[in-house]
Amino acid sequence: MVIPNLFRTVLLCFLPLLVWSGCGPSSVSQGPIKHSTNQPSSLANPSLPAFPGIGPQTATGTQQGTIFHNRATEAGVVFRYTNGEDAETFAILDSLGGGVGYLDFDQDGQLDLLFPGGGTYRQNQTITGQPTGLFRQIDRWQFQDVSRHAGTLDETRYTHGAAVADANNDGFPDVLVTGYQGLLFYINNGDGTFVESANTAGLTDQLWSSSAAWGDFNSDSIPDLYIAHYVNWSPQNDPVCRSAKGDRRDICPPREFEPLPDTLYLGNGDGTFRDSTPAAGLSPNGKGLGVIAADIDLDGLQDLYVANDTVPNFLYKNLGGGHFEDVSNSSGTAVNDRGLPDGSMGVDVGDFDLDGLPDIWVSNFERESFALYRNFGNCMFRHVSQATAITAVGSGFVGWGTSFFDWDCDGDEDVFVANGHVIRYPASGEVNQLPLLFENEGSKRFRNIAPTAGPWMNQPHPGRGCATGDLDRDGDLDLVVSLVNEPVALLCNELPASPHWLKVRLIGLETCRDGFAARVTVRTNETTQCRQIKGGGSYASTSDFVLHFGLGNFELIRELRVDWPSGTIDYLQHIPTKQLLTIREGDHPLAPTNP
């Protein structure tokens, strides 16, 4: 608490029998501030990656008038995440909600959807789960609930997150479901059914898990797994907290609880995993909600970023062999621009400024700012939310699921955030919150265009996890959002014009099959874009692994390069747009004369 001169002046003036005219400073108005005109940007060029020609550039024009239309009901995806708040136990367990998983579990070329169902914590201190929903896409915007047949109806766990990956490299995506009372690990049998195998796979973690990220952390081509844990709530550690106004019981804040250490599982190659946490070099004091595995320093190894609630976030630089160095503080990504930890929930990695370096995006709690950490290279980041107008949307949002995605196919990555309050009786009075759709303007700043992006985007929701992918195979990215105690939303991207795009599916051979950490660089005559295969991300969700490139008016891709973590480079030239390109590792080796 600081009392500046102003207060002293006023307090003295305020006292009875003193005349105010004798108080206060005597500064006199000198006239209004005159605002400046535009000046050229002075942003310094950071170090550039190995691929030639990558550098700051301006993306192509933005499509106007696009809306996202919720087609969940007509598509037959009727599913509701249940947090059990009707039991009136006000446990922090109720607050996390659930995520979304994109997967093509039957490999028919059409994306399917998976939703953890939540659960209930009752007054008698029992915890039950709700079934996980699996919806198979049978035609465009036609889904069928196949949960029963597929065998995802487990009700023993209170669930939150869906982490999808081909865990056993058999060509069929498997699913890890996080939550309270342990993990669920659904191995895809390849025949439309799954078998829950957490215990037999050695995934015996019993701590309260929120999100998980698949990756290949020791470069052995076998998928590994990072599990983010939240706090040490239990029925035996369930304090009573009051609402902001103090007039009734409400959900306790995370500060009331101790953090739980995260877990790193390394794959053994035989379908089982070993707990490699002690040797990994992880910090024990996180309250993890979001986690992403991505090659942040572009050294070919998947690094990890963990969004922690109310304590500093983690950035782990992968040293190889399943060992990490905690560079959270030295990188500038542990805290916000004031040096304080945020209440972080969701996370993604993308190259918002098209400089070739992956930047980190974090959704945070209200009265904070969502954090955009610009990558300066050498594991140095700068919090640029203010300079990119992210903070200008205000500080009333509680951000959860979030995703970089080029929704308008204009060549730069935009951002979606699903928002919703965590407590029952917030001071603002509203649990539901408006979503945010940030349009990337010239790779320099963002503008929220959600109010003009259709009715769903213009209404408050109890948002949690979200994921992106081209559900209807029309070339633009659609969104799926999990809501708390409300039906999920399938947001069809109805881009009015017909911009160019390219989708790239990677199939690893030396690298694990999903291609974790593989980087794709796409160059037209004027633009260069980089994407990579990431594990985890958003909040408790998994987006489609197919990489999407918006290309605006560019009809031809001059060069496409894939840098696989195995060291293999695939290189293609003169590629037509508006297609899904499948690249197997080593199918298009880089010719010696090529760059």
Binding site: R8, P16, H35, T37, S42
Partner: protein, 390 residues
Amino acid sequence: MNRTALKLAIAIGLVGIALVAIWFGTRPLPANRFRLGLNAAEHENWPEVLRQAEALKGKAEFASEARLLQAIYLLKTDRPASALKELSAIEPVGPLRSSALLYAGEAFYRQDRLFDAEKLFATLASENPDSLPAHRWLAAVAYDSGNMNYAMEELAQVSRLSPTDFRPYILKGQILADLERFAEAASSYQAAVSLKPPPNVLAEVLPALVRAQIAVREYSPALTTLSTAPDDAANLALAAECHLGLGRPDEARELIDRAITLDPNQPDVLKLHGRLELDAGRADSARRSLQKLVDLDPHDHTSRHELAQSLRMLGQTAAAEEQSRLSAQSIDLKARLAALTLEAIARPRDAEVRTKMANLCEELGRPLLAATWRKAATACRQLQQAPQKQ
């Protein structure tokens, strides 16, 4: 006696009668003397207050009035204990009761007996809910004792009774800003501005309003506010921060360049300059500005955090770690102070909490604030030790 002489005698008689009448009408009656004394007090003419008090002494029916004027004189010449003695001898009922309560409350306040003062002001307010000075004093006492919620309630009463007074809104804005309730602080400052305070006050209120608006990311309204503010270095820096928040770093840069020419060492200017230089990757230039800032305020944890970042960019890892450590230390102290502030609000008579706050304020280099909390702690302790007085 001739007719002329008779006329002259009558005229002289009439003049005499008129003069007597005039004298009679204007002679300093005790009641007039009391009014003159109060008028002198309003104009802070303390010798005149004393003169009228002395003149009333010995007039038995005006003994209380004489004591009241004497008490005012003593109070305003820094003798509150003596003033209290005079006030305690005034009849507890009658027309002087309100004034006596008010000045007695002030006398207690000036002796740092905050809760004795509060009791008298509260009595006055309960007897006369529309007593403007009672509510003003109650607000001041509540603020000094760290009872911010009560202070804001009383400020609301003051605004009700004096709707054109901008001062309660400014004070309320400051309290809310201290509690980091910036949206409400901005509304309160906005209300103060709408009541058209004089230019010298406005020049201080506008930046406070802008800071609150920036804190809640209301950058465009903040720029509108600044359009009526003096074009000094601090305000240019605030405008630059608004432009930065709107994603216009080039405009911010131009403003900060202008601000530097006006005052290169102004803290807001240094802060924005450091931030812009860091954004642009010019770590050494940023370091210089940020170092100046932490020299000015060693507990400016944000600047220290950014200083650490500039040092890391320059490869000075050990120095960066030290700055990070110091930043974390300041953050910890401030977090403890914030928690204690809430405790003080919840426990308005707790001396221990206030003593801890005073100690923390000293650690944070805020001696004035420390003194305020010590005063509050002393008052709480007096309350705990002394028997309740009527």
